[in-house]
Symmetry: C2
Subunit: 252 residues, 2 copies
């Protein structure tokens, strides 16, 4: 049992880089370095074949990787080709959604994440908002109070209000994460069994209190009030579950 020291670290682990990985890395670096602007075209597949000496199959596999990562988009046809894009919120949402699904995370986890992120967004919105953004937030909350809205329209308007607050936070990362919580993960809330005049009034009033704090640039108050609001919402959604959670495709 002596001298059983697993592996003498004489030479390092050699990892054989696959050719399509190498090309993907190279292209990714080029794009992320900013050498190519968003919207610009990359060389065509056949040109890349020439330039790299690889086969078209390998080139295409590399391109597929970058496409999943949200960095490029391929379109057929003359004047089509490969264009550079920016990963958007929905690509982030897809990733988070799969992460959650594949690990069978309980709904509690997503709810906690939402309760973490949303108040922070309100706080930063209070700190960074412009007058225009404040006006937009107020207007959306007023639209929310329209009793003519059906349940679906009310839910959508509600989401738009929350998104507007997120926008005003000037933090695109947290905004994207919130988006991921809402879209990539649960469709449950949109079903929202509860819908009554009382609840709508309560939501509108809660929003109004948050708005007040945002208007006053009082970050701490905005956070506190948003936190209370989001937690209140949970009371409705977490009655049933504790179960695994169902996923809805982003309706997009």
């Amino acid at each position: 049992m002596q001298e059983t020291q697993k592996s003498p670290p004489l030479i390092e682990r050699i990892s054989v880089q696959k050719s399509y990985d190498l090309l993907a890395d190279q292209l990714r670096d080029t794009i992320l370095a900013g050498d190519i602007d968003v919207g610009d075209r990359l060389p065509s597949e056949r040109e890349l074949v020439e330039q790299t000496g690889l086969s078209r199959g390998s080139v295409r596999e590399a391109l597929r990787i970058l496409e999943v990562e949200g960095l490029i988009r391929s379109r057929p046809g003359r004047y089509g080709g490969i264009t550079v894009t920016q990963p958007d919120n929905s690509s982030m949402a897809r990733m988070v959604g799969q992460f959650v699904r594949s690990r069978r995370m309980p709904l509690r986890v997503i709810q906690e994440a939402r309760e973490t992120i949303e108040p922070a967004l309100a706080r930063y919105a209070a700190m960074h908002r412009t007058d225009e953004e404040l006006a937009a937030i107020i207007e959306l909350n007023e639209a929310l109070a329209d009793p003519a809205l059906d349940r679906r329209a009310f839910a959508e308007m509600n989401i738009r209000w929350h998104n507007a607050v997120a926008e005003a936070s000037r933090n695109d990362l947290l905004t994207a994460l919130l988006y991921a919580m809402n879209h990539g993960v649960v469709a449950a809330t949109s079903e929202e069994v509860y819908d009554s005049a009382e609840i709508r009034a309560a939501v509108h009033a809660a929003h109004a209190r948050v708005i007040e704090a945002i208007a006053a640039r009082d970050g701490d108050a905005a956070r506190r009030r948003m936190e209370r609001h989001v937690r209140a919402t949970r009371a409705h959604t977490t009655d049933l579950e504790d179960s695994e959670l169902e996923i809805g495709e982003p309706d997009e």
Copy 2:
């Protein structure tokens, strides 16, 4: 200017699904539905060719998609093949990192996200921790106080402490997001120009205060103290920058 009503919505937009996308969707659904356990093997490429009627190239492109998504892994060789995997923290970190890089987000955004997530993790750790987890957290903080540690070792031990707190939170999603902030995004903090006995003592003491709250299962106190701690750290790192931020590969 009459009759310019853009498009009579007579028939819907037709989108041609590419074959590799279809196959990727199908396989993804199968995996996420749990029909195949993690570690199990998928049919080999050639078997998939047979079963689907597609070419091997298309099958491989589909597999490449799932590989980027972290759902499978391909290995060559007999008894190799395609095995089902779970997306891990680092795959999430990669995605977040690219999101941040490609949008040229300022360092402020990441710092804000960290300051949002970390206190929440402390709070949930206080609520959900077991005694074993608490003991581990305490032990790591004591190890941190060893003056024999060089700068690098200290930094690593520090990260391990924060990770231990995250683990105890029982929220794998927020934990993964914190991991993404630390690894996928900035290598800057690891450089940490500041390192003195005073700072180390301050860090140790701040950790101790958080631990106290976690031990007492006082979620609000844990959050508050962790928030103060993380903000204090920022004071050091945000002196220089305001610039775009540099990215470091996760050192694995």
